[in-house]
Structure formats: C-alpha cells, structure tokens
Amino acid sequence: MVSIVESAVIDAPVDEVWRVLRDFNGHLAWHPAIATSRIEDGLPGDAVGAVRCFTLKQGGMLREQLLVLDDRRHELTYCLLEGPLPLFDYVATVRLRPVTDGNATFWQWRSTFRPPLERKDEMVGLVRDGIYRAGFRGLADHLGVRARPALSQGPMMQPSPVSKPATALSSPSVRPLLATSTREAEAIVVERHGGPEVLVAKTIAVPDPGPGEVLLRHTAIGVNFIDVYCRTGYFDLLKPPGIPGMEAAGRIEAVGSGVTALRPGERVGYACPPVGAYATMRVMQPDLVVRLPDTIDDETAAAGLLKGMAASFLLHDVHRVEPGEVVVVHAAAGGVGSLLTQWASALGARVVATVSTDAKAAIPREGGAEVVVVRRREDFVAVVRDLTGGRGASVVFDAIGRDSFHQSIDALAQRGHLVSYGQASGPVGSWDIGAFASKSLRISRPNYGHYTGTPDDLAVQSSRFFSALEKGLVRMATPTRFRLSQAAEAHASLEAGVTTGSLILVP
C-alpha cells in the first residue's frame, strides 16, 4: 500500500474553494486532465454514493464513487471503481482548512492505493503530478487566483491500450499434425508456447486425405488474434508442437474416399478449428469448408471469412438489426467491428461507433457510422442519450468486455439488447440478472461455433457474407500481406497494434 499526501495553499477563502470542490461532478470545470464527466443515474453531485463517470483528455474512462461529503469539516472522500490504470483499492480524501492569516485555503489531497510493484513509481508520480498537483493549479486558475509557487507540469494519465477483440470459438480436439506420409508442405510450427519467436518454419509431411477428408492447398491464410492466444497457450486449442491458424482459402488438392460434395480444383475457404492453417497444405473435413464464388478472391476470403461470418450472424441471427435502430458498435475500427459498422449502416441502422483513439476514427466514419466516439476522451453513453432523446440504443455490440460492459448497459434503451461477443479487456465478471429488469434488458453471449458449426449454418453465414461483399454492403480493406515464413513478424505486428485491417500469410 502506498500513501500520497499533497497539499497547497490557494489564495481564496475556504468557502469559495469548497463550493467548487464539493460538487463531485465539478472537476470537469477546473481539473485540466478531465475531458467529460457526468454523474450516473441522474444523482446530484453532492449525493453520497454518487458515481462520477469521466474521461481524460489523454484518454481513458474512470468511475469514482463519493463515500464521504462533510460540509462542516470541508472534507470529501471517494474511491476508484474502475479505470485504465492499476490503482487498486484507491481511496482519496480532499480536506480544506482556512488560513485565517490572509483569508486563504490550505488544501490537502491524500490517498492510499496498491499499485503493482513494478509500476509503483510510475503510478505514484502519475497520481501526485497528473492528478493532485495539476488539480491544485487547475483550481487556482479556475478561481483566477494563485497557487504559489508555480507547480511543475507532471505527466498525465497514460492508459494502457485495449487489445483487439477476439471472437470466441469453440474448442474441439487438435488432430495429430506431424504424421508421416508422402507429401511435403511448408508450415509454421509452434515448438512451445511463447512469443512470436516460437513460430518456426519447417517442412512437414502431409498425409493423404483419409476417408471423408479433403486435402487443401492454401493460397492465402488469415492471421487472427486467436492465433496469438494459441501460440501463447492462453487458449487450449494447440498443443505444441503444432501448427496454428484457423482461417484460409485455397483449392481442393485431393479428396478421400466417400467425398462427393467437393472435387479437386474447387476454390474453397474455411474459418474454424481445428488449427493447422499456417501451412501450404493441410487435411480438412469437407463439411467445414465453403465454396468460394468467383466474385470473391482468395485473399479477401482468407482475410474476411471469420470476421464476415461473425458479423453476419451477429446482425441477423443474434440480433436482427432493423432500419432506424440505434446500434452501438465498440472497437469499430477492428476486424469484426468495422464490418458490423458498415453492414448495420447498410441495413439502415443509425450506428454509434466507438474507437479507442482519434487515429482510428476515420475507419468507422467511412464505414457509414452516424457518430464516431473516441472512448478515451468522450463518453459514448452521453452521446447515445443525446442522439436518442434520452431513450438509449436498442442494441450494443460489445467485444471489449470488462472495460465497457457497465457503460454498454447504461447506454441501452428499455428492452435493449447487449450482445457481448468478446472480452478483449478481460472478463465482465458476475452480474445479478435481476438488475436487468430495470430496463427489461436482453443479454446475448454468442459463440462463433454455435452459429457456424453445421454445414447448413456455414452455408447460410458464408453466402450472406459473400452476398454482402458482392452488393457492396461491406468492403474489406486490402489485407496486409506477409510471406508464410514471416509469420512471426505478422504476429509481432498484430500484437503491437500497429496494423489496421486484416493480416494474411501468403505461401
């Protein structure tokens, strides 16, 4: 537990300083780090128990709850409920005392919290300089008085980036991979769980397709975040040594006995387990692959099948989006998010798209979103309320998870629908479903495998996606190409968050 105590003298009477500070929502007016702020549930800013939900100019949304407000002692105490930084058990107290000599105010701001050991200095510096010292100066400026001497400008909040959402997949067994046989293929093998460096190019033997199997020759291979999870061992879909990858396009090279639906030479694609796509060839179950229409090129299919089919069932089966509906799409510059934005807009919905940074705002804007909200500095709940005359959105597509779940519920209208299809920021935790009765909310937690798991489902979702591409309802940005042998580089780029759009490997 660390403790921070900072104090300053403000050249204004204590009543005047207290009048500003006692408003729990007032920091927007005087603290230089605050971009937006509101009190949840319509409570007044001096109600003990009130929660302020605010965003920082440098990005990041926080929620803090007022625990103590004391007009006699000029003290208030509050705690942090959630935020982008590891300030665990953060409790802070603001205390004012009159300086009778000169009619000024002594202001003490103190807190205790638990930072991770390795980030202790960083967190202490940030709270002390970015919040308290900056606040002293901000309030003095706000009141048009001095806080002597001039305070040094400290670093502001630097929230950690939100990683990209991963679509949930079911987890079937991993087939034995390095079997002995006649054909040779180039493959990327995960020798052990670890960083991108564990992706090693190898020549492997590929067996002939057995009864009821097909042999595929890949032309383009999709790179998804789930591949990273398989590589690191976070998902239990790959046991080293094994070949990662769950999305690819190519041609049927050979078919096993009893396979009649597909013939050698046909163009196909797939997006599902089992892993094994990072290879020039693989054996696959024929009912897991779809034929590619002539209008869809291999690279588009490899880059877009998984995301496209996910967008397809999210917008048609999980929630049937209707014209005029207000739809919130989080992480709208991401793979699935950008498709949801385009497709829902094309279906006539009014899309409120949220992105983490300004740099990503152009993607949903071009995709047809009516409003784009930069989450790190804007409050999308307020934006949705403004847009809907206070009613709220009819559906929120949320793959961020922990960091957005509460606000997503807040943003919904009565009988609204929260579609939680990922949890890039962490699990959403336990919720008492009784609380959803306050707005008659519906919550969906779809699993990709349950909407694309049968040949019939696969046919419905893939043809709907292909048709949307053909009609121009959605467009796929040109994917970033890497050689198959550069898979480690592709993973490093994906994890660094430096890419937009899809990544593919080309044999």
Binding site: E6, R97, A104, P149
Partner: protein, 145 residues
C-alpha cells in the same frame, strides 16, 4: 463553549518549525508576549503531564499542562490550570501540517473553553488575536526566507 481558530502559512519546512514549537518550555524564545517560563518540578519539557509556568510581558502568570505531544502529527495539546483570564475547561492544540507545494508549513492554533458570562467575545478576541495570531505572526517572521 467558545472556540478560537487561527492559522497561517510559514515559509519553512514543517520539521524545522516543529523543532522550535515542540519544546513546551520555549514560549519566550518564539512568542512576543512571554517574558520567562519554567517547567515545574524540573521535569523534561516533553514529558506528558508536565506543567509550564510562565509570566507574560504584561505581568500575568499562567500555568498550563501538557496533555499530548505528537512528533508524528506535529501537534501539541495543552490545558490551562491557572490564568488571569478566568477561563474554564480551556484546551488548546497547536499543530503543523506540511504544504508540499513549496515545502512550507500550515500552522493551526485552536482552543475551546468556557468563559465567564458576558466575557466570551472579549476573551475570544484576546486569545485569537493577542495570543494565537501574535504567535503565528512571530513564527512567520522568524522563518521568512
């Protein structure tokens, strides 16, 4: 019950100011209104319960008992045993708090007491201005930098 409160900002680190004011026998050294002072029964001036017996420059004699001394909070609490002011149940606290902005000191001096009927206002003013304020102003002057 009457209350008096005075406070000031002293342009020196709190530890330095505390070194001066924590000595319960040092009033002559830093206040302008005390002529001389001794601790009764030859006790150390930081022994809780000790009594300081001091004479004001205007001739009044006062005895005060040390009730609490905190080197952690930098505060000193005492009561009046005898004084020419005629106050009852008088307890005062002198405390220092660091002002991290500028490495200065926020000094507070406050008291609660019962005054004889009709004397509340005069005593509140006398103690607030003549004692606390005068003492704090002297501290400020002493540490002016």
């Amino acid at each position: 019950m009457s209350k008096v409160y005075r406070s000031a900002v002293i342009d020196a680190p709190a530890a330095e100011v505390w070194r001066v004011v924590r000595d319960f026998n040092a009033l002559p050294a830093w206040t302008p209104f005390v002529a001389d002072s001794r601790i009764e029964q030859n006790q150390p001036s930081d022994k809780i319960g000790c009594v300081r017996n001091f004479r004001l420059k205007d001739g009044g004699q006062i005895r005060e008992r040390l009730l609490a001394l905190s080197d952690y909070d930098m505060s000193c609490t005492y009561s009046i045993l005898e004084s020419p002011m005629g106050v009852e149940n008088y307890v005062a606290i002198l405390s220092l708090t660091p002002v991290t902005d500028g490495n200065r000191t926020f000094a507070e001096w406050q008291a609660e007491f019962d005054a004889p009927a009709g004397r509340e206002e005069a005593l509140t003013h006398e103690i607030g201005t003549g004692v606390f304020e005068a003492g704090l102003v002297a501290l400020k002057g002493r540490f002016r930098r």
